[in-house]
Amino acid sequence: MSVLVYAESSEGKFKKVAFEATSYGKKVAEQLGTNLVVLTINADETSELSTYGAEKILSVKNDALKSLNAKVVADVIKQASEKEGASVVIIDSSADGLTVAPMVAVSLNAGFASNVVALPSSASPFVVKRKAFSNKAFNNTEINTTIKVVGLAKNSYGLHENQVSGSSEDFSPSIIESGITSTSIDKTAGAVTIADADIVVSAGRGLKGPENWEMIEELAEVLGAATACSKPVSDMDWRPHSEHVGQTGKPVSANLYIAIGISGAIQHLAGVNSSKVKVVINTDAEAPFFKAADYGIVGDAFEVVPTLIEKLKSFKANNA
């Protein structure tokens, strides 16, 4: 018996969710009185995982897995689970994780709970708490099968250091045909993505026009944040669709979400509510977003944001 974590990497480097899933997996293994095994695919520094409790690491190196195809990766995870006799398989909630996890569940004939936000409240029966109703509630779900697949929600458990001496073992699974060919990938180079960002700076119609986004980008740069926008802004083509966050756009689950000139329609809140700390800057003191926020400033973005940028720059300089 064991707990298996799939630690996702991109271009050889682990994503933050990989460390979060490993931290979580270590605790689940302790709860179940078993050991943790972490699977990596084409990752360079697998020893980094041992900072978060990975004793045994299965390292797959295979050029055929350079471009990640969900079906192929799911099959590799299945093979690793069978080899290690995993009773719990933990996968993160990145775009790839969300696609891979249900496939792993089917191939292992396992019950699957996604968007899990906490450690199992009980190991037998195995009960986990998950997000439901677009962040308006939680559902305690019991997984009844022998093997259980858990999809861990991003930023829900956090990173917990737990240094162990890890050992890495080469693992050479068989690689199945994917059936799908990737013809091109278009990624914004260098920019922080909404999915990876700890801080997201988001702006809405209150900015009056696309020409005013320079200060939003500058604020994001100072904070090392990703930029995002409300639905009307992307509908009017002020900003690209990929920046639209909310119910029908991208979900945001950041540590800090700063909303500037966004009133806070329920559909917007549904997509960003699971962020830990929300700051709202709006001229309208009655904007519904203030009710969902932790910190609020009633004021004109064109005055508040430039001041915020200056003050943050000196704060960063003093705290570097």
Partner: protein, 248 residues
């Protein structure tokens, strides 16, 4: 081309979410149910294939008889016929198994579904369905063209977009971008009249043990009041974010 569109019957986004029976059941009292917003994008794209490429479009739902008005709405938007698998949709794996049976019996080439439903947000049914059927699968799909038996698909990835090509049969987990929001269809009077005469077939569920069960619901702890900071006192905001919230 035979298209199957999977339709979830979900509470409208603005619904108040409450629970009854000691927080074990969702309280449907006063709740308006709608076609899952993600599924609407899939359905509208299917209508395009029907009109431009002569596809036939079937809609399917796994649920009890209370979901039929939602299927009728999909018929009013233009689907040719509907299937309801008569079972409570309690577990994603169970639903995927039922849908797989419908796909096998109907010989569909393309299955379109929203990438998740806005009630349980599991996001698992499309991928599970593809796995059970051993069909190709693309999730978070924001563009789909079909030429013969070849599909060109664009999907959203973390930080960008990827263009893929795959052969039918295919399962798609769709979202906005598959069609634009302004192109979503609202049933008109003629559509609603015609929908009454279109076939809505009820089939019984196949046996499959549920793999998960819901033990209870919780609402998030009430949030403390928003701390207001004066617009002239940005230093205080920075100090709160650094010392109290510890996020910068």
């Amino acid at each position: 081309m035979k298209i199957l569109v999977c339709i979830s019957h979900v509470p409208d986004t603005t619904s108040k979410i409450n629970f009854t029976d000691g927080d074990t059941k969702f309280d449907t009292n006063g709740v308006q149910f709608v076609i899952n917003p993600y599924d609407e994008f899939a359905l509208t794209r299917a209508m395009w294939f029907k009109e431009k490429q002569g596809a036939t479009v079937t809609v399917v739902n796994v649920g009890n008889s209370t979901t039929e008005p939602t299927l009728r709405k999909a018929l009013a938007i233009g689907a040719d016929d509907a299937i309801r698998v008569n079972a409570e949709a309690t577990d994603g794996f169970f639903v995927a198994k039922q849908l797989a049976e419908v796909v096998k019996n109907g010989g569909y080439d393309l299955v379109l579904a929203g990438k998740e439903s806005i009630d349980y947000n599991g996001g698992m049914v499309p991928a599970m369905l593809a796995s059970i059927l051993e069909f190709n699968f693309v999730n978070a799909c924001v563009g789909l063209e079909i030429d013969g038996t070849t599909a060109t698909i664009s999907r959203e990835i973390d930080g960008g977009k990827e263009i893929l090509s795959a052969n039918l049969p295919l399962v798609i987990g769709g979202q906005k971008g598959l069609v634009e929001e302004k192109d979503l269809r609202i049933p008109n009077m003629r559509g609603i009249m015609m929908a009454r005469k279109k076939p809505l077939n009820v089939v019984e569920a196949i046996d499959f043990n549920v793999t998960t069960s819901s033990s209870s619901f919780e609402k998030p702890a009430p949030k403390g009041a928003c701390k207001m900071v004066d617009a002239d006192n940005i230093d205080e905001l920075i100090s709160l974010l650094h010392n109290e919230a510890k996020v910068i």
